[in-house]
Symmetry: C2
Subunit: 196 residues, 2 copies
């Protein structure tokens, strides 16, 4: 019967993007007072705005700006969470080209402040999800600059990350994996995971 | 000589909005690895985008959306900070009409998660700044709904808040007041300030 339930969940998720699923999960967490996590709005440079009578202001000219941070942040049981959501169609590794320098630098800064920093990675084809900590991600990113690997092997992610299994509500119960990450961090005496 | 320095600082600040001053202070804190705090972008509903050849995408029609959170959030020494920046020309009290219901609800949710939540209040005419904790703010807001006062008296803010004095760099050294707020919170045994 478990199999049928999994199929059902997959069917329900069809067509939703990873971000939509995370946003919906965040709404669930907020409604149940479990965490307060939001996706940051896209930064926009507004150039021209019309103020028509009797109706809402209309932005007539604006440009996308480069974000300086990651997709999501917020608070969970006293912890600051900060993360990106990323997906790949690859089956054996997660390509580092999915990340931008500014995201890595932001995660590095947040780790220095003892934030809980990670990526929610989805392997689209495999239908597998992981909470992958920022510390090994940054290590791989820095190694890449010195002729290191251009991607993180799935088996490495299985070892260093925390798998998340799709649920009904929330669809992506990532706080369970975050609990494991926090527990692991705090068990590393002297080598606090949140610290570089 | 202290007087002259204060005058200098005031002169330098002339013309900058409270938000600009806070943004600049946040840049200082980030550059010195003291905190990672950003102003959230204004949420925009994008309706129409043009993609001209050889140049950047132009947003041709978009609308302002209601924000669901506060102005600023981020991480400081393992603490989640969440705050609004507000100013008044009043000299004797801070009017509650400066706040919106969604801001109060967001602060309430963040307090439940043990965030460090407050308002940076500026009394423009008095040139005085305070870090005022969310807990008494929410208490005043809720009282107002039951025919309570429509504003918070300055003398109450002096007692319950933490004054911030303008500096040169950062212009608004609000983390000093945040340290006091955290210290006060943690000294309140059993009545953790972060908890409602
Ligand atoms: Mg993303
Ligand atoms: Mg404001």
């Amino acid at each position: 019967h478990k199999r049928a339930k999994v199929q059902q969940v997959r069917f329900d998720n069809r067509g939703m993007s990873l971000e939509e699923e995370i946003n919906e999960s965040n709404q669930f967490y907020l409604a149940h007072d479990l965490a307060v996590i939001y996706k940051k709005p896209i930064p926009i440079q507004i150039v021209k705005v019309d103020y028509p009578r009797r109706s809402a202001a209309v932005i007539k000219e604006a440009y996308f700006r480069q974000a300086s941070t990651t997709d999501y942040n917020g608070v969970y049981a006293g912890y600051y969470l900060d993360f990106e959501a990323k997906e790949t169609k690859n089956k054996t590794s997660f390509p580092l080209k999915n990340f931008h320098q500014h995201q890595i630098e932001h995660l590095r800064h947040c780790l220095k402040q003892n934030g809980i920093c990670f990526v929610i990675m989805r392997f689209v084809t495999l239908e597998r999800l992981f909470v992958y900590p920022a510390t090994p991600l940054i290590r791989a990113w820095d190694a890449q600059a010195k002729a290191g690997a251009k991607s993180i092997p799935l088996h490495t992610i299985e070892v260093e990350g925390f798998e998340v299994h799709y649920g009904l509500n929330p669809r992506i119960p990532y706080l369970t994996a975050v609990d494991q990450l926090i527990h692991y961090s705090e068990s590393q005496k002297g080598v606090h995971y949140g610290k570089q």
